[in-house]
C-alpha cells in the first residue's frame, strides 16, 4: 500500500500504482521531457521544468563563451543533480558532426544517455535517416545509450531498434512547427512494433496534441517550443504535465468504440 492510500477503495489504490517507464536501465516517473531552448531566460526555463514536473531535460553542446564569462550558465538554474541532462545534437547535419558533438557531451557530462538527431535541411529540419542510422550504429558500438529522433517511418524505426537504439523518437510534425501529430497511423504502427520506448519528439503545439501522442500508446513526449513560445510558458508547462497524464490514463483505460449514431446514456425502461 502506498502512503496516503488509507481509506481508498481497491480500484482507487490501483490507480495510484506506479506508472513509470524505463529507458536504458534508467526509470522515470514523468513521461514528459522538455527542451531548454527559446525561453526568455534560464530562470523561466527552470520554472517551466518545475511546473511540467519533468525529470529529463534536453540540452545542447556549444562553445563556452570565453569573451563574456559573466553570461548565465544553464547548470546554475536547471540543476543537473535534479534533472537528467539529455544532450542533443541539434544543428548537426552529418553523422560525423553528431558523433563529434556527443563524444564531447559524454566528456562534459560524464554520462552516456544521449539524444541523436541528424537533420537534412534548415527549412524542414527533417531527419536524415541514412546519416541517423549510420551514427546510431557507431554510437552504440562506442557504448552510448542512444535515443533517436527520427521520421515517422515504421521501417526505419525498426532499423534503428535493430541497430541498438534505446528509444525511438518519431516526429509528430517538423521541429518548432507546433502542427500537432500529423501522422497518427504511423505513430501507432511504430508503437505497436517497438520493443523499446517510443516518444513523440517535435511537432506538439498544445496540450491536446500531447494527449493524442500518449493516447496512441507512446511512452512519452518530448517538446520545447510548445512551452517556450506559449504566452505563459509556466502555465503551458503545467498544461502539458496534465495532458501527458490524461493521455496516458486514457490509453491505459482503453477508449470506447466509435458508433455511427447516438446511444442514450440514461435507461429507456421506466420512462414516464
Amino acid at each position: 500500500m502506498l502512503a496516503g492510500d488509507e481509506g481508498l477503495t481497491e480500484a482507487a489504490k490501483d490507480l495510484n500504482q506506479d506508472d513509470s517507464w524505463t529507458v536504458a536501465g534508467r526509470t522515470f516517473k514523468s513521461r514528459l521531457i522538455i527542451g531548454t531552448g527559446k525561453y526568455r531566460d534560464y530562470a523561466q526555463n527552470a520554472a517551466a521544468a518545475e511546473a511540467a514536473g519533468v525529470e529529463i531535460v534536453t540540452v545542447a553542446v556549444r562553445r563556452v563563451n570565453l569573451s563574456d564569462p559573466s553570461q548565465p550558465r544553464l547548470t546554475d538554474y536547471v540543476d543537473p543533480k535534479r534533472y537528467t541532462y539529455l544532450p542533443n545534437t541539434a544543428g548537426c547535419f552529418t553523422a560525423e558532426d553528431a558523433l563529434r558533438t556527443l563524444r564531447l557531451a559524454r566528456e562534459a557530462g560524464g554520462w552516456s544517455l544521449v539524444k541523436l538527431e541528424v537533420l537534412s535541411d534548415q527549412k524542414t529540419l527533417y531527419p536524415d535517416m541514412i546519416e541517423t542510422l549510420e551514427a546510431t550504429k557507431v554510437l552504440v558500438k562506442e557504448g552510448f545509450d542512444v535515443m533517436v529522433y527520427c521520421t515517422d517511418d515504421p521501417v526505419f524505426a525498426r532499423r534503428l531498434e535493430d541497430a541498438g537504439a534505446c528509444a525511438i523518437m518519431p516526429l509528430g510534425a517538423p521541429i518548432g512547427s507546433g502542427l500537432g501529430i500529423q501522422n497518427p497511423v504511423n505513430i501507432r504502427l511504430i508503437v505497436e512494433a517497438a520493443r523499446v520506448p517510443v516518444l513523440v519528439d517535435a511537432g506538439v503545439g498544445t496540450a491536446s496534441e500531447a494527449a493524442i501522442a500518449m493516447e496512441l500508446g507512446c511512452d512519452g513526449v518530448l517538446m520545447n517550443t510548445a512551452i517556450a513560445e506559449a504566452k505563459d510558458p509556466i502555465r503551458m508547462a503545467r498544461a502539458m504535465k496534465h495532458a501527458v497524464l490524461a493521455g496516458r490514463d486514457a490509453y491505459l483505460a482503453g477508449r470506447m468504440g466509435r458508433k455511427r449514431y447516438a446511444d442514450p446514456s440514461s435507461p429507456l425502461a421506466g420512462l414516464i
Binding site: G35, T36, G37, K38, Y39, Y42, N45, T58, V59, A60, V61, R62, R63, V64, L66, P69, R73, L74, T75, P80, Y85, P87, N88, A90, R100, R103, L104, A105, E107, A108, G109, I175, G176, N224, T225, A228
Partner: protein, 66 residues
C-alpha cells in the same frame, strides 16, 4: 605563440599546459569538455597536455537547447 581557441586566434606562452590555459579563462571548469586538434582531451590529461603552436582548441559546455 598562437593557438586557435573556439575559432579565434589566441596568444599564449610556449610551454603552457591546458590546465593553465583553462584556469585563466574559465571560472568553473566543471562541465567543460575540450577538443584539441579534433581529439578529446580528458580532464585527467589537461595537466600533462602542453600546447603547441597552431593548436586548434574547442571548449564546449551544455547550454539551453531543444
Amino acid at each position: 605563440m598562437i593557438i586557435y581557441l573556439n575559432g579565434e586566434e589566441h596568444q599564449i606562452e610556449a610551454g603552457t599546459s591546458l590546465t593553465t590555459l583553462v584556469s585563466g579563462l574559465v571560472a568553473d571548469p566543471r562541465g567543460v569538455a575540450i577538443e584539441r586538434n579534433r581529439m578529446i582531451v580528458m580532464k585527467s590529461q589537461w595537466d600533462q597536455t602542453i600546447l603547441a603552436d597552431g593548436d586548434q582548441l574547442e571548449f564546449v559546455q551544455f547550454v539551453g537547447g531543444g
